[in-house]
């Protein structure tokens, strides 16, 4: 088993909601509410959840674009809050979601990709050479060094983003919904590219998405997140063949697919329509308002994440 490259313990991130005359904190948005997991070197870990579950916030906390409210994040054993950001960002990098707004429209892509080197005062010739190498590696033309983002398509822009993440030679890349804005045929190319890069240089990925089929394609282990908490962690095959948490089941069942062709089901119970708020959430399991298997204990106690089988964790009273 490879060593854990990243260890997260009880991570919490709250966003205060201020109001009133003196701008006092009236409530908190519990974006990430006690998340713990490990990532082994060389694996691809998939983080899946719907909007508001906190997955993007979690990603940004790990890379320290946002400071967590509490909890611990260790990279190769060292606490990242003590690390110099220059050092951290030469080890961990991020690829952003929106190919439109992740590249400065006023700067050439050569600058965008090469910025990490330029900031370190690398001589221009070297920067140019290195950028050219990376452009080739992501399947773009080296000659396009001086072009602007608007001259490229969405898929090409994501390649540029990937090149930018790779130029600092990181060991770990967090990909925040990198293909969500792309067409299906373009998505295929980007996913293949990511796979190729991984096999070539053995990098570790954390792939964040709301699309389970994409996550399934790329990941080794999958983390399911709901309203700031992890509800299930499992290796890919087990998550699909033997999902334990009712939310995971709901997620899988909701994916539109030909195999689910059906007609005229009974009306959906109204409970499912309301997504609870993550502002000062109530006691008990977060999912109890929508859970088809809800029990009395679920409304009162928040279940812990426990290991039910090797490598398979679930936070649900059904398995306590």
């Amino acid at each position: 088993m490879s060593e854990a490259i990243l260890g997260v313990r009880n991570l919490k991130k709250f966003f205060p909601i201020k109001g009133g005359l003196l701008q006092r904190t009236q409530a908190n948005v519990h974006a990430v509410d006690g998340v713990s997991f490990d990532v082994s070197e060389g694996e691809c870990i998939g983080l899946v959840g719907e909007s508001g579950c906190g997955k993007s916030t979690l990603g940004r906390c790990i890379i320290r674009l946002i400071e967590p409210t509490s909890g611990e994040i260790r990279y190769r054993g060292s606490d990242i809050s003590g690390m110099d950001t220059k050092e951290l960002w030469s080890r961990i990098q991020m690829v952003f979601q929106d190919p439109m707004s992740s590249l400065n429209p006023r700067l050439t892509i050569g600058y965008c990709i090469g910025e990490p080197l330029i900031v370190r005062k690398t001589p221009e010739a070297e920067v140019r050479a290195r950028v050219g190498e990376l452009l080739a590696e992501v399947g773009l033309n080296e000659e396009h060094y001086g072009r602007f983002p608007h001259e490229f398509s969405g898929g090409q822009r994501q390649r540029i983003n990937i090149a930018r993440a790779l130029i600092s030679d990181p060991e770990f890349i967090i990909l925040d919904e990198p293909t969500s804005s792309l067409d299906v045929s373009v998505q295929a190319k980007i996913l293949n590219l990511l796979n190729d890069i991984k096999s070539r240089i053995g990098i570790t990925y954390m792939f964040i998405s709301h699309d389970l089929s994409v996550i399934k394609h790329l990941s080794d282990t999958i983390l399911v997140m709901y309203l700031g908490k992890l509800v299930e962690i499992a290796p890919k095959r087990e998550l699909f063949s033997m999902s334990l948490h009712p939310y995971t089941r709901l997620l899988i069942d909701s994916i539109p697919s030909r195999s689910r062709r059906y007609r005229g089901e009974h009306a959906e119970s109204p409970l499912s329509l309301e997504l609870p708020s993550n502002i000062d959430p109530p006691k008990g399991c977060r999912f109890h308002t929508r859970c088809p298997k809800v029990m009395d204990v679920c409304r009162v106690n928040d279940p812990e994440l426990i290991e039910v089988e090797a490598g398979h964790y679930v936070a649900c009273h059904l398995y306590n």
């Binding site: 719907e50 909007s51 398509s153 969405g154 898929g155 067409d183 299906v184 045929s185 373009v186 998505q187 295929a188 190319k189 996913l191 293949n192 796979n195 709301h210 699309d211 389970l212 089929s213 994409v214 399934k216 394609h217 699909f240 709901l250 997620l251 899988i252 069942d253 909701s254 994916i255 539109p256 697919s257 030909r258 195999s259 689910r260 062709r261 059906y262 007609r263 005229g264 089901e265 009306a267 959906e268 109204p270 499912s272 329509l273 309301e274 997504l275």
Partner: protein, 331 residues
């Protein structure tokens, strides 16, 4: 005996922009039958949204419908006056909901008020006088789209509702007059997958219980596979293939359709690599000649760039626009 509800023939819609003329739709042929759920699938720039807007004659300038026919119940919509479109067709016979309901609902009026306005427009004059009748209709409409506590929802403003509820409200508004054709343009794209699944169930239910034909516009083949009866695949302003959903998945013919199906990561099978379609979507100001897919097609022949292929029936109900299937045509 299936009756044709909407027949689009040779539809051409162009956009006259500063940069040039964007040939968004170049001769689209489609037929939607009464009571069926028809899927229109394609990627960015294929023209699926423009098709919907053209049917409703809501193409924004600098766009213009240049040619073709849109026969609705036998009558050419392109020949109707704007007034007739507005009073008789839009919102009454043919209705729609678009991608982001937040932008289509006025933020300063409650849901109930907006729904009331729409119901009033389509009522006969003697029904108008009865206010309680309209209010009942509002609540009934919201209940029909399965919104819990419809009286409370009617009194709320759009921003107080979640995305899924707003979408249901939009669908309710669109179907309040029991249209014969309901167009859903990327209705679930901005919604979470669990909420989107509920909306799809709602569509199926509406189709089942009220016989409303639906035009489901999406880029997601899974949605097509799950709820549609027939489907048209579009590419760069042209229709590539029209067939039943079973035919699409079991026997795709057009090289683009085949490529698309292979590019999707599937839940039911493992693949190390996804098959790629080489090249990118063409510039619609200077589109490739003939079949617009030919620069990217692994099976392109000599004639593909010269002449646009006509739709040919390869099996009953299965039409493909590809020179490979034209039988007597040389490549």
């Amino acid at each position: 005996m299936t009756k044709k509800l909407l027949e689009v023939k040779g539809l051409q819609t162009y956009f006259y922009t500063y940069a040039g003329v964007v040939r968004a739709l170049e001769g689209i042929d489609l037929t939607i039958n009464e009571g069926e759920i028809f899927g229109l699938v394609g990627e960015t720039g294929c023209g699926k949204s423009v098709t919907a807007l053209s049917i409703l004659r809501l193409v924004p300038p600098p766009g213009r419908i240049m040619g073709g026919e849109i026969l609705y119940k036998g009558q050419d919509l392109l020949k109707l006056s704007e007034r007739e479109m507005r009073t008789r067709i839009r919102g009454r016979e043919i209705s729609a909901t678009f991608q982001d309901p937040a932008t289509y609902l006025a933020p300063s009026h409650t849901v109930g008020t907006q729904l009331k306005d729409i119901i009033e427009v389509h009522l006969d004059s003697n029904e108008l006088k009865r206010r309680d009748h309209i209010e009942r209709r509002v609540v009934e409409t919201l209940r029909r789209v399965q919104l819990p506590d419809p009286e409370r929802i009617a009194a709320q403003y759009p921003h107080e509702l979640s995305g899924g509820m707003r979408q249901r409200a939009m669908i309710g508004m669109g179907t309040s007059s029991r249209p014969s054709l309901f167009i859903a343009d990327e209705a679930t794209t901005f919604l979470d997958v669990t909420i989107g699944a509920q909306i799809m169930r709602l569509f199926v239910q509406m189709n089942r219980e009220e016989g409303t034909a639906m035009l489901i516009i999406t880029h997601n083949l899974g949605i097509v596979g799950q709820i549609c009866d027939r489907v048209a695949v579009m590419y760069a302003g042209q229709v590539a293939e029209v067939c039943t959903v079973d035919q699409l998945f079991d026997n795709p013919m057009h090289p683009y359709t085949v490529g698309l199906l292979q590019a999707i990561p599937r839940l039911d099978r493992e693949a190390d690599r996804l098959t790629e379609i080489q090249g990118t979507i063409p510039n619609l100001i200077y589109p490739p000649g003939g079949c617009r897919f030919n620069p990217r097609c692994g099976k392109a022949g000599k004639g593909c760039g010269a002449l646009a292929p006509k739709m040919a029936e390869v099996e009953p109900g299965h039409l493909v626009a590809c020179h490979l299937f034209e039988g007597d045509q040389d490549e």
